[in-house]
Amino acid sequence: MSAPLLQLDNVTVQFGGLKAVGDLSFTIGEGELIGLIGPNGAGKTTVFNLITGVYEPTAGQISFAGKSVVGHRPYKITARGIARTFQNIRLFPSLSVFDNVRTACNMHLRHGISHALARGPKFAAEEREIDAKVMELLEIFGLTAERDAACKSLPYGDQRRLEIVRALATRPKLLLLDEPAAGMNPTEKAELMKLIRFTQEKFGCAVLLVEHDMKVVMGICQRINVLDYGRKIAEGTPAEIRANPKVIAAYLGKEEE
């Protein structure tokens, strides 16, 4: 395999006296589906925020497609090909389903503000193009009927789905999913697993999945990284992770000897 898509090298981030993530290293290859798990407060979401530029690492290096992303603003990192969803859904509440996805097409616009103001034929053509693209995405994910609905009015599962659609509209090479199964019932979870796998295959993007639900993580991930107190305690296939005594200890606590 060639150079990894995403590479974290000894990444550390310190908030005051708290080391939220320490010496974390892992890689994600093109098109891989990788899990990131750990008990509450282990630093999983912090890792996401580091990769997407919300936080800057205190030490260490994060590179995407061979180039460092450290110190870049989040929108630039998204432009490089990393898209994410949020643990607590962050759709644009005042926008319709359609417009939520359309907004994510923003950065691929070839025409700037002058064209938006002048409304020339080129601009019109591009708007139509975006319309078609958004509708195509909504169609794939079965949200066509809701296109004009306020995104807040969607059922919870659909909101999660819409967040994924929106992230995909930025045409990412790597998709970061932050607890997509949170608050879902078993049927919805089963559907979500199918959806993630489908996304990975159809759009050819790598996926990094943070999830608490072991069934989901074990069911779809090729490899899993386990964090505890900001440090990686294990890495391996689902079967290896399941049998790893350190992981069991982190989740269930160690027996006193």
Binding site: T78, S94, I113
Partner: protein, 326 residues
């Protein structure tokens, strides 16, 4: 579909040109109110881009208006006579001066916006308020601009056509921009900055852009005002003037251009209407008395409105309203 907005703009401009002839005939009092409405529409609709669509809180719109008013007046005073007489050339100078005033205001918008738009909410409001006071202070001490005495001597150039043509252009630009995929960025910034960044939107750029555009139109409004009143004074662009504009935006419904246009119109007419009511002989005395204290009544009306309709007269954005505006 795209063409529709252009056709609308063109017909609006034609209507303005047509009405301009009629408007010349009405009494100066009503004409004054009419022009005031047009200027307030430009101010409120442009501020709505910042306070409504982009969700920032600017409280210094009158400051940009002042920059436009003084810059354009300075331009017409300096170059108005030297280019020669004749309607065409004076009009050209006037329009160029208006645009110059707009650009000046836009530039000051850029200067204020770049450092201050990192701030949010109340903090941004205070910075923009400070800017408004600084501009006022600078003008008050600038001898070439008349300082405390005010600046006069501009010729009457502002007429019905130019006022409402620029109002139409302001509405056209704001609606076009916000309706486009490009302009969805403003709404995304308002709704959730972190999510907007994660979707590849440069939030700083959008905030500055909204700020600069709004300042530009405020500058135009200032120029129109200056060449209508033919006399401008720093106190005319104080904090209270900024608040007036913010009230129009809030009353119309943040991010609702049609509502803001109506609110700007109503709020311009209302004080004058109350003034008239105070002189209706056939009304009972006490009612006349109430109307006499029109500014108190006006404030009361605003309080009642805000209590009963905090979303503004015509409501904020809803999912439906949010679709393509084409």
């Amino acid at each position: 579909m795209i063409e529709r907005s252009k056709i609308l703009l063109l017909s609006a401009l034609l209507v303005c040109a047509g009405l301009s002839h009629v408007a010349g005939g009405i009494s100066p009092y009503y004409f004054d109110i009419l022009i005031g409405i047009g200027i307030n529409i430009i101010l409120a609709v442009s501020l709505n881009l910042v306070n409504g669509y982009t969700g920032q809180f600017s409280l210094g719109h009158a400051g940009f208006m002042a920059v436009g008013a003084y810059a354009s007046s300075w331009l017409t005073l300096k170059y108005g006579s030297s280019i020669g007489s004749g309607t065409l050339s004076t009009t050209t100078v006037f329009v160029l001066a208006l645009l110059g005033g707009g650009l000046g205001a836009a530039l000051s918008g850029l200067l204020v916006g770049v450092p201050s738009l990192r701030l949010k909410g109340d903090y941004l409001a205070i910075v923009t308020l400070g800017f408004n006071e600084i501009i006022k202070g600078v003008i008050q001490n600038a001898e070439p601009l008349g300082a405390q005495r005010g600046l006069g001597g501009m010729e009457l150039h502002t007429n019905f056509f130019w006022t409402f043509a620029f109002a139409a252009i302001t509405i056209y630009v704001v609606l076009n921009l916000v309706g486009s995929t490009y302009g969805r960025g403003f709404l995304a910034v308002r709704d959730d900055e972190i999510a907007a960044e994660a979707m590849g939107i440069n939030t700083t750029k959008y905030k500055v852009l909204a700020f600069v555009l709004a300042a530009f139109f405020a500058g135009i409004a200032g120029g129109l005002y200056a060449h209508f009143k033919q006399f401008i004074h720093p106190e005319g662009f104080n904090f209270l003037r900024s608040v007036d504009i913010v009230v129009m935006v809030i009353l119309g419904g943040m991010g609702n251009t049609a509502g803001v246009v109506v609110a700007a119109t109503l709020l311009t007419i209302l004080p004058e209407l109350l003034r008239k009511v105070a002189h209706y002989e056939w009304l009972p005395d006490w009612l006349q008395q109430v109307a006499e204290n029109r500014m108190i009544l006006y404030s009361l009306l605003l309080i009642i409105l805000m209590l009963t309709r905090p979303q503004g007269l015509f409501g904020n954005f809803t999912g439906k309203r949010n679709q393509r505006l084409q």
